[in-house]
């Protein structure tokens, strides 16, 4: 019912969408988070994700199960990258299938919102003049 992975290789939104497909699912919503070329008007060169692996995976699994239990999702895939990413590369893919589209939209938005709050993964952004751990300081 759920497929959660923390990967050091390129993510595939097609694989996530294929996992959640079923004949009972009328609506599939896929969120793809990519590395932007800038953040607050500063040019981003690349970024690096580091994760507390076992807990990152267990927290993503909790999110996926809540998408099923609380939102009525049928299947959920969450794939997150670790390691170094270039601009344009995919950092996260979340695919949610549900009988109807509203549940799929709500569950997918819930999943990415919660992932950004609870999953122990840290992003360091590299600029031309330095680097910063994202969100560390107010």
């Amino acid at each position: 019912m759920i497929d959660v992975q923390l990967l050091a290789t390129d993510l595939s939104s097609a694989a996530c969408e294929a996992f959640v497909r079923s004949d009972a699912a009328g609506g599939v919503v896929v969120f793809v988070g990519n590395v932007r070329n800038q953040t607050q008007q500063k040019k981003v060169l690349r970024l690096h994700f580091e994760a507390y692996r076992p807990m990152a995976i267990s927290e993503m699994q909790k999110i996926a199960y809540r998408a099923v239990a609380d939102f009525g999702a049928l299947k959920v895939a969450i794939h997150h990258r670790e390691g170094t990413l270039q601009v344009g590369q995919t950092a996260v893919v979340i695919a949610v299938a549900a009988p109807h589209r509203k549940a799929a939209f709500d569950a997918c938005a819930f999943a990415i919102d919660t992932l950004k709050e609870t999953v122990p993964i840290w992003k360091k952004e590299y600029f031309e003049d330095g680097q910063v751990w994202v969100a560390a300081h107010p």
Binding site: A51, V92, P120, W133, V134, A135, A136, H137
Partner: protein, 80 residues
């Protein structure tokens, strides 16, 4: 009681070359550990938040610590 803390992201930078071993009087809670860390490493006070994980789960301030626990510092996360 000697506790070993594991640090990720900016919390590893803040601990620097510290050996991550901390001595606490027993019984000790997450709140005691947090207080000690904030005193010894004031840069933690500048973070948006600092949480702790105990054996792979988010811990509450009142949770008791034991020597063999896996204690991980969780500065503000930024996945996704």
């Amino acid at each position: 009681m000697r506790i070993k803390v594991i640090a990720f992201g900016i919390s590893r930078d803040i601990l620097g070359d510290f050996n991550n071993q901390i001595d606490l009087n027993e019984p000790a809670t997450v709140a005691d550990l947090k207080q000690l860390l904030l005193q010894r490493f004031p840069d933690f006070c500048k973070l948006t938040s600092l949480r702790f994980a105990l054996n792979g789960e988010y811990a509450d301030d009142a949770d008791a610590l034991a020597e063999r626990d896996e204690i991980v510092l969780i500065p503000p996360v930024s996945g996704g």
